[in-house]
């Protein structure tokens, strides 16, 4: 591992200054992804800014908004009373991710900013446009069983990336329409979780729309009417401790057998947590039946395409959407 300078600021402003002015500097929080990347030589910062002593750990509820500090641990959020009561979908997604040990280390901010688990991104012997821009995408004609079916562009081989974002938590946050609070050299701003991650486009090396030195300080979720009818369904190769092949966060606001509004997002299918807005709209005003859910799943799949080994996701994804909605509705 390349030597690095270790810094441990106690103030937000100092931390931001340390990173924003230095392209070789990186923040570190839980470290569960970054240290892995550093060991493999994929990321080699010269300066590591340990933000664990910044005051960003609090989880608090005020006037209809739950605010979760960026340094709150995944396990703390999943076990938090207000989260369980108001946003059980988030707790369920968190509990389905990683392992007991990792959830005790990984932070909310780090979970959002984790890198893809595409094996080619981690294999420095092979081309990868995300790791080394313009080198090519090995997954396109390689082992792509776990890769994206939405938001992919393959016209330009030097820009193609079909990797998926690996987070479960972010899928729930997308369905809950969370805001992400940022602090950077230019001050503070707030963006929707849907606008934080990006599709590869012409810059597959960029995962998010964060600016250099910007730091996630908190996530906010507004009160909603989905707590009673929500479900996070994760389909994976083994019963526990594996990344999603496909996952679905489904939430329904049901009034007298009719869907007032719905939220749907998927994981394991795109370069970012994949919110299914058209499918959500198609459910509004519909009866709570399997056929309504089946139609929404059809709407959700518009534009999906497979790359060979992951073609099965084109069938698995709509079935997972229907199943997640059925469970959320309490039908099965």
């Amino acid at each position: 591992m390349k030597p690095f300078q270790y810094l441990r600021p106690s103030k937000l402003k100092a931390a931001i200054e340390m990173v924003s002015g230095d392209p070789q500097a990186r923040y570190i929080a839980g470290g569960t992804n970054l240290i892995d990347l550093m060991k493999r030589g994929i990321v080699a910062p010269e300066k590591l800014v340990d933000i664990n002593h910044l005051p960003l750990k609090k989880i608090e509820y005020k006037t209809g908004v739950l605010r979760i500090g960026a340094l709150a641990l995944n396990s703390e959020v999943a076990a938090h009373e207000t989260v369980l009561q108001k946003h059980p979908l988030l707790a369920q997604a968190l509990d389905s991710g990683a392992s007991g040990q990792l959830r005790n280390m990984a932070t909310v901010g780090g979970n959002i900013l984790q890198k893809t688990r595409c094996t080619y991104f981690y294999d420095t012997a092979l081309p990868c446009n995300k790791r080394e821009p313009e080198s090519g995408c090995s997954a396109l004609e390689g082992i792509n069983r776990l890769h994206a079916i939405f938001g992919t562009e393959t016209e330009n081989p030097a820009k193609t990336c079909i990797a998926v974002h690996p987070s479960d938590m972010c899928v729930a946050l997308a369905a809950l329409d969370a805001d992400v609070l940022l602090s950077g050299p230019g001050g503070e701003r707030r963006i929707k979780i849907a606008d934080l991650h990006r599709l590869p486009g012409a810059n597959p090396e960029l995962d998010t729309n964060l600016e250099r030195g910007e730091l996630i300080t908190a996530v906010e979720i507004r009160d909603n009417a989905f707590a009673r009818n929500s479900h996070y369904l994760k389909v994976r190769d083994r019963a526990s401790y594996a990344f999603a092949i496909v996952s679905v966060a489904a939430a329904l606001d049901i009034d007298n057998g009719q869907i007032r509004s719905a939220r749907l997002a998927m994981g394991g299918v795109a370069h970012k947590p994949w919110r299914l807005i058209a499918a959500e709209k198609s459910l509004e005003g519909q009866p709570v039946t399997e056929s309504s859910f089946r139609k929404a799943a059809e709407v959700a799949m518009v534009g999906a395409r497979g790359f060979g080994q992951n073609d099965f996701k084109l069938k698995l994804a709509p079935n997972a959407i229907v199943q997640a909605l059925l469970t959320a509705a309490g039908i099965e």
Binding site: M1, Y6, N104
Partner: protein
Amino acid sequence: MKDEEIPAGEELVCGVENRFDEDRRYFLKQSVAIAGLAFVPGSLVAGGENALPESFGDTENVKLSIAINGKKHQLNIDPRTTLLDLLRERLALTGTKKGCDLGHCGACTVHINGQRTLSCLTFAVMQNGTKVTTIEGIGTPEKLHPLQTAFIRHDGFQCGYCTPGQIMSGVSCIREGNAGSEAEVREYMSGNLCRCGAYPNIVNAILEVKNSGEKV
């Protein structure tokens, strides 16, 4: 022993001058230390933290104050040292195992401030001011921890390599209240892999200790 207060969150800045020189020195020192170690009698190595020369593992870059199994350590370390490597290479606490070194297998599980974590995925400097418990800190050959006894009774291992991690994780699983049923134990122990496949016996050992109501 009474735990002394260790200041957490001190602001810290340290330099990286002459890194290449240090890299070379590090390599030489470690090579010498490893070569030397081969001739150290087992009893001396087992003697604990102070049996190894100070230079073992190098370097003098960053100050670290950490309590391990109730004993406070003041060390100077290379910031690249993971907590796992600090335990094994610097402090000769080799009970904690290095399996994958990438956070996939759970063999390196230790408790930091009472919570189970993976020691391979944290730099030791990041744990300044914390209290770490390893397998050496929960039981002794004379007085085993109840879960250690249960692992022996239920044959919860074959090769034994994953066992310290399984036990540290199992203790947490019970403390967290996630050992209520076989399904729950399997779910909350999924971060600890056992390639010998001793899972049914591991689950039984954990359930037995949980159901005994014994304090872990």
